[in-house]
Amino acid sequence: MNEEGKRSPKELGTEKIGTLLMRYAIPAVISMLAASAYNIVDRSFLGQFVGPLALAGLAVTFPIMNLSAAFGAMIGAGGSTLLSIKLGQRDYGTAERVMGNIVSLNVVVGFVFAVLALVFIDEILYFFGASEATLPYAKTYMVIIIYGNIITHLTHGLANVLRVVGHPNKAMISVLFGVCVNLLFDYIFIYICGWGIAGAAYATLLSQTLGTIYLIWCLCNKNDRIHLHSGIYALKQRIVKNILAIGISPFCIQVCACLVVVLINRGLKEHGGDMAIGAYGIVNSITFMFIMIVMGITQGMQPIAGYNYGAQQYARVTEVLKKASIYATIVMTFSFILCEFFPHLCVLVFTNDVETQQLAIEGMKIIVLMSPLVGFQVVVGNFFQSIGMAKKSIFLSMSRQMLFLIPLLLILPHYFGTVGVWASITISDGISIIVAAVMLWMFYHRGAFQTAKNDVGI
């Protein structure tokens, strides 16, 4: 196995927490920033050079992307867990078959999903909130993306495999490379060639194709113990079953996420029209960026909290939790100030359309009301995950993004229109912050540090 990307674990138990957190969080934050910067530039290209309807059309396609990603997450989560188990057993033959099966499953699922999505494309897009005006944009974009669905699945799936088999840096390169190439093609296809929203789709597809080729090339390296070769692709019942067994819960969560976006889109379309959906796309991009920075901080926190929890150095666990919460709160407070007091600046990047701008500003000002404390909520959720309390962690994630959000989205828009949609998100944030605080208080109050809790149940 390649040792690339590994660090000495001992420093996790001895080095100063602040230093450690910086060292582990900064690379994660940078990659998260790259991803959301891409997201923002991609959309601003569309907004500036194609128009506000294109932005709305793109936003309508989010749920389909979520659904496709749900299948990706299913195979990705199940496959990488299984793969790392087999690598841990040094059962390299089986590990290679798992890898081959991941490839095959991605191709099969990607193909079936693409066929179904193409057959029912109009119905799906209308259901997800498209209108007569936005459908052409959404459809043009979607059809191209769906033709490349297998590639999309492979890019994400293989990047994950590459990470698990010991090349996290190469996997990272492939992602960053994809982002850069995508932006370059965006510029060429949309700005220079003037292909409109189709240009955005082609840019995405092309960059993913190049990314996939790079990944396959990396994974075929014969010097690695585990590499792609013939004879490993035939689907094996045991492997497929095990992958699905693990993958089913991330799949369900993604499907719920898709449902939430559908509810938001439909609520906005009904009460605010197409431009409101486009506005959501803008607001989403901006708030997403800050949440991603926080996710980067929590990714840095995880190994530190996990290691020290395992080594029973609980004071250090608490310290890293505190520090991560503080950093996250600073980031989110900054986002609050930016969006609340300088909303024009944010929106201007995406569009010159006054109606869309106003709708986006209205939404943004409401959505960010709770944001200074959202960072804390996300950190706590990930904290529980890093010390092995996956259920608490899932519950916290779900509480903010579904549990309270879905009922609110079903009720509030009827009374308050688009404001109701935005407020649902804010209120859901607020409740889930309280839930996180209570759960953390209970965790410390009940001295949960004393008990072990990893029964396999046999």
Binding site: G5, K6, P9, K10, L12, S31, M32, A35, S36, Y38, N39, R43, F62, M65, N66, G76, A77, T81, S84, I85, G88, Q89, I145, H156, N160, R163, P168, A171, V175, V179, Q208, R238, I246, P250, I253, Q254, A257, V260, G281, F288, I291, M295, Q299, Q302, P303, G306, Y307, G310, A311, Q385, S386, I387, G388, S393, S397, Q401, A452, N454, V456, I458
Partner: protein, 209 residues
């Protein structure tokens, strides 16, 4: 004499562990059952070595990778299964313990996929012990002091758990004769008789004096 290892897979209520204990006593070697292995794993405090790979855990960054197309705040959720202290890590710790025990001395390992984990051990006898359903019910009734109805419930649930566990972590099916060297129904000869029979088999195959 060369070190050997005997792994025993067994159905709940088949007396598999009791049979293993008789064999261990006769051969004068230690026996490690699932409980002891779990305790050892827990005492190791989740060996900090485990976290060596914490920055390249499965799933990490899948969320990040997906952001490129899944432009929604929700994709962050896909990170949740990336648990740093998971059942998979626990299995890894158990694996290390079982390998260490088997490398240090001749021993018997009961349960915990020992048959798969020790698949590369050169001197390894894989046993599976089952029993007739009614006998298992009787065994569980006596052992746990429960009613036959409750015992059946326990047995059915346990069968599911053990096969799920084994089939997930290993490459063979739990209780499938092809996964073992010898499968035996302990109802026929009883605990003592089965132990004696297996002992003879083990002595001959593993060339134990």
């Amino acid at each position: 004499m060369e070190k050997f290892v005997i792994t025993i897979g067994r159905e709940l209520g088949s007396g598999g562990k009791a049979i293993g204990e008789i064999i261990a006593k006769e051969l004068n070697i230690p026996i490690y059952d699932s409980y002891l292995i779990d305790m050892a794993a827990k005492e190791s405090g989740f060996n900090p070595e485990l976290f060596k790979k914490a920055d390249e855990k499965p799933g990490k960054g899948l969320g990040a990778a997906m952001i490129r197309t899944v432009a929604s705040p929700f994709s962050a959720l896909s990170n949740y299964y990336d648990s740093s202290v998971s059942n998979e890590s626990l299995f890894q710790v158990q694996t290390d313990i079982i390998l260490k025990k088997a490398a240090a001395e001749s021993c018997i390992i009961v349960g915990r996929c020992g048959d798969y984990i020790l698949r590369n051990h050169p001197n390894h006898l894989r046993i599976f012990i089952r029993a007739d359903y009614d006998d298992r019910v009787k065994f569980v009734c006596e052992h746990d002091g429960v009613t036959p109805a409750k015992a059946r419930q326990i047995i059915d649930k346990n069968d599911n758990q053990r096969s799920e566990y084994h089939n997930f972590y290993s490459e063979t099916n739990w209780g499938d004769s092809r996964a073992y060297d010898i499968c035996v129904n302990s109802s026929l000869l009883g605990l003592e008789g089965t132990a004696e029979f297996l002992l003879n088999f083990a002595r001959k195959y593993l060339k134990i004096q």
